[in-house]
Subunit: 147 residues, 10 copies
Amino acid sequence: MSRLAVTEKIIAQKVEKGLQWKDIAEKVGASKEWVTAACLGQMTLTEAQATTVAQIFDLSDSERKWLMQVPYKGSLPTEIPTDPLIYRLYELVNVYGTTIKELIHEEFGDGIMSAIDFDMDIQREHHQDGDRVKITMNGKFLPYKEY
Amino acid sequence: MSRLAVTEKIIAQKVEKGLQWKDIAEKVGASKEWVTAACLGQMTLTEAQATTVAQIFDLSDSERKWLMQVPYKGSLPTEIPTDPLIYRLYELVNVYGTTIKELIHEEFGDGIMSAIDFDMDIQREHHQDGDRVKITMNGKFLPYKEY
Amino acid sequence: MSRLAVTEKIIAQKVEKGLQWKDIAEKVGASKEWVTAACLGQMTLTEAQATTVAQIFDLSDSERKWLMQVPYKGSLPTEIPTDPLIYRLYELVNVYGTTIKELIHEEFGDGIMSAIDFDMDIQREHHQDGDRVKITMNGKFLPYKEY
Amino acid sequence: MSRLAVTEKIIAQKVEKGLQWKDIAEKVGASKEWVTAACLGQMTLTEAQATTVAQIFDLSDSERKWLMQVPYKGSLPTEIPTDPLIYRLYELVNVYGTTIKELIHEEFGDGIMSAIDFDMDIQREHHQDGDRVKITMNGKFLPYKEY
Amino acid sequence: MSRLAVTEKIIAQKVEKGLQWKDIAEKVGASKEWVTAACLGQMTLTEAQATTVAQIFDLSDSERKWLMQVPYKGSLPTEIPTDPLIYRLYELVNVYGTTIKELIHEEFGDGIMSAIDFDMDIQREHHQDGDRVKITMNGKFLPYKEY
Amino acid sequence: MSRLAVTEKIIAQKVEKGLQWKDIAEKVGASKEWVTAACLGQMTLTEAQATTVAQIFDLSDSERKWLMQVPYKGSLPTEIPTDPLIYRLYELVNVYGTTIKELIHEEFGDGIMSAIDFDMDIQREHHQDGDRVKITMNGKFLPYKEY
Amino acid sequence: MSRLAVTEKIIAQKVEKGLQWKDIAEKVGASKEWVTAACLGQMTLTEAQATTVAQIFDLSDSERKWLMQVPYKGSLPTEIPTDPLIYRLYELVNVYGTTIKELIHEEFGDGIMSAIDFDMDIQREHHQDGDRVKITMNGKFLPYKEY
Amino acid sequence: MSRLAVTEKIIAQKVEKGLQWKDIAEKVGASKEWVTAACLGQMTLTEAQATTVAQIFDLSDSERKWLMQVPYKGSLPTEIPTDPLIYRLYELVNVYGTTIKELIHEEFGDGIMSAIDFDMDIQREHHQDGDRVKITMNGKFLPYKEY
Amino acid sequence: MSRLAVTEKIIAQKVEKGLQWKDIAEKVGASKEWVTAACLGQMTLTEAQATTVAQIFDLSDSERKWLMQVPYKGSLPTEIPTDPLIYRLYELVNVYGTTIKELIHEEFGDGIMSAIDFDMDIQREHHQDGDRVKITMNGKFLPYKEY
Amino acid sequence: MSRLAVTEKIIAQKVEKGLQWKDIAEKVGASKEWVTAACLGQMTLTEAQATTVAQIFDLSDSERKWLMQVPYKGSLPTEIPTDPLIYRLYELVNVYGTTIKELIHEEFGDGIMSAIDFDMDIQREHHQDGDRVKITMNGKFLPYKEY
């Protein structure tokens, strides 16, 4: 058994039971973005969270313990994603990568936006020409340290 | 001569003259995100915009014409970026890619967030534990069409 | 169980039962191009369509539910296809890619042909020197947005 | 000097002179698809065609001779295109590749659609929800030979 | 079950029974080159041929049906073959590729040697300094079409 | 200066002067296959051959000396060739690689066909349905040695 | 001109003048590790530091300005380093990567060691069996944030 | 059975039993860094160590024997690690690789830091702004030998 | 069943029984280098050798037959080896590759050292500063043939 | 200027002057293997050696200084060599890699053969069936250290 096996069981159970991530997140008591990432094997749950998730997806005690392990992260099967939705995100990094770099450095100087002290929010934005997806990424700026 | 050569000249001139993207954007009359991307060779300028940009960076008439050509897009030298700031964006796609996919599909059904009918906003968010970078991505949802 | 497992079962059942995609498409009530793509794990079926497909291929109820999930798309095992028929399509992208880009931009300006708001038609064209394959791709033009 | 250098000169001259591919094609006397591909270094011109193209782009006699050489074909700088317009074509191969394979084999048996005895047509299709790009690919079916 | 599984069974049965490809080819009634390729999952058999092959290798009826399906072609596990015999063929393409291209174009003009309307013959050639392998490849020349 | 630079000069001179490989080969006094490979930087010439080649292509004395150096072999810019003619050869290795391996081993036992003690012949074969390209590869069989 | 060109000039000047990094660092007034990284194009200098570095290496005013630009980071020409000294570091990541991950998570929980709020020290350690290299890496622990 | 299977069993047992690497290391009688690497399949254990490890993780006698075999080393599933913690180490090699190379050569001359005659120590360093990870790598300098 | 499965069984049996390659080689009656390579799936055994090997490792009759099949050669899981011992050999090819090429060509002219008509010997060499590994590779020189 | 430029000049001068590596090595006073590697940019020369080499190849004083710098090692343009002579060495690593690993571990235990404390000898071995190349590699065994 491994964390990957637990992730696959969670996904299969979600299809079988017809669950929604936002309902699962509400039961776990955290944002839908973080809870989905955790259930997909990218975050570490506390014992209380793991117990809730185990009940939702009928996990065994061994499977529940895996949820509390720090996972080997990375959710995509190829270096460049083949799935069109995920590829669009990669395309944005490719097309806008140097732009984002220039503008963050112009505002903050040398450093990075943390991908760890980070949160994300995904919302539907109603629009007359067709609704829009709004993804807000928010990470602490970490300046390079001179020594 | 090529669009890439024009981009390299723009960057060199910007260093030489000590310019700021936000000031350049104001003169061009569009957002700093779009103008920076355009100057870095990812977007196509109108004649009026190209003339403004050519004046700012002392471009020749031939160089100015290249700014109005649709460029071959893609701003990074390697498939997986080596620069730490840009890699953090790739890491987010890698760690959160399946999460974003699940949540957009849960809300909208099968389809993608457009990377074309798209805008982006980068802001500094003041915070007592250290300021934060806030990137908002906003793209039209495009549903897969059955036929 | 996963969507991939359902796709493999569908393919095995099709061989076993000796079915034709055009007959399956007729029963499902959509084009042969879309239905084949859906059965091969690239599109999402409605409940009614999934029920029809499940009957055709003797799928279990769990398998039927997977057909209504948005799949992780991408149907090829390698970045550059090894199969000669599919490679010819990749070769066309490689040889004609910049040509198609130039001509679409000349006609429409900067933007893309959507691969989402898109349909495709494959026909046999009779010809005295040997019949021909005619593939018509039709996608909405999406202009890049300035902001 | 090489064919690549001639292609780069043609592109630079086209920007400088503000020419259109469809006008160039008319002067050459062939389709805009074929002429663009030829000017971009993918096809071989006859002496008469090369003379016309040389006049349009102010090519030297040596450069004109290169247009009549069979080129080393392949127009893209990376295996997976980074340009969004060209990537969408690659995405279609990735998502629909197995579908196209199944349907051509169902209709014709084992074999391929030729990418050599092939022509292509790109048209604008007016549509009330936004105009569409229509690409028609037409290639001879070549059956695998048993021996 | 899949075509790959049938190929693996055929190979295992051939080892177990100690068969020779030339004898199998004779029973099938086609060349040893084509029959071996077909048994290794690269060609499509007719019903009669499939029945013969199924008898030779003790295949089940389902396995026999897979032999009549057009396979996803490509017989090597890596892009560059590791096996020394097969690598030598790849080395020949690498060392002589541009030479073959030049000489075919000098003789025929722009176009390709078909790999579909193609046959191959492998013979032992006796020689006093050690016997030689003689591979003859014979494919129709397909000229690029102007349109 | 390097061997590559000499190869590029030879190719440019051939285009400029409108020469044919078969005529060049005749003057050098070896087969057109070997001479073309040598001029394209894959083989080593003797002093006499180099002098002839230098005269044909107006090479300097330094350039002539490079022709007598053993080159770093390999004539293709990418691992998988993008040029359609050369790709067809790679495709043959991919589709028929295991077949060729099986049949050579069946006839000769374990070993390889030499790509060094090797010659190649390329001929046009007239045929009523369209002329054919016939490539004959002939290499010494080298058995694996037990020790 | 670009930052890369400045880095190359610095390296060439260092060879020409026979300078030592530790002496350069002393003049700049920071650690030898940070100053070397900055001179090799990985860190951003202040105006005072850039002026010192420009004097040491005879840089022009334009070159000096590049030192104050945030560079595109990444100092190696290939994904897997070919240089034996640098490969040994990559090997350590490869062999000990999961070990380091396990032990940091055991001590700190889920999170990372910062490569930004980070310093490094390289020392010679005298030892009777041969001196040793001692590299100390010291980075802030950044815990993953739940939200 | 293989060493990899034993490693996977050890990891699963550790999760199941809720063990800590530092306690396991203490029982084995070596550093936590070396013991963790050994349990993760990167080092070779003595018979006494293997017996202790086998008792801790309930290994069979065959599994115990595998621990005494020299393993095929390398603990990461991809060339460039996707896991954020491990990627940071790779990033350090990428950003600081040439710096470390320069400084070791300046101090020691041409040679490498051994990754074999090597030890490593990972410690928590308390700090008021957040605790820090301190990794000390210590390897013998091996000079290149002239001959 | 496949040759790979037999190789894996041989390795597992060797661990289980605690055998040594040199003892196995002695029983088979060939060098330890060749016998080890053969048992690891890289060489073809005669019937007598296969029978001996089958007895040593308790192989079934089907498994024994696989030892007499010519294997698909190549023993490493990645293009660039991750194992430190094997990587050192790859590093030698990388660092010394052009040197070996120059020296062999200086001595022999254009051609290669055969990897087929080849033998290898691995010995311990006692030395007061620590014992040394001595690998002697011996292959027939094969000159390129002019034709 | 860079070490690579010096290497290219050395190679060009060697062709121009018609020198032999063994004669150069004799003047430098070290083995032909080490001197060739040093001249090809893989080793570091002392001042005396650099002066000799500079005289032989007419190097400038700046070029001479580069010979005393520790180079960024790695002499091949691709990960897998395309040159047939060098590929054969890579093939030996690929086919015999696990064999060499097994036999060194059987004799020495866990550790590696050093590629740093290493020397190499290349000799012609006369043989009636054709002369042979004999490469002897000799490196110190470095045992993995427990800590």
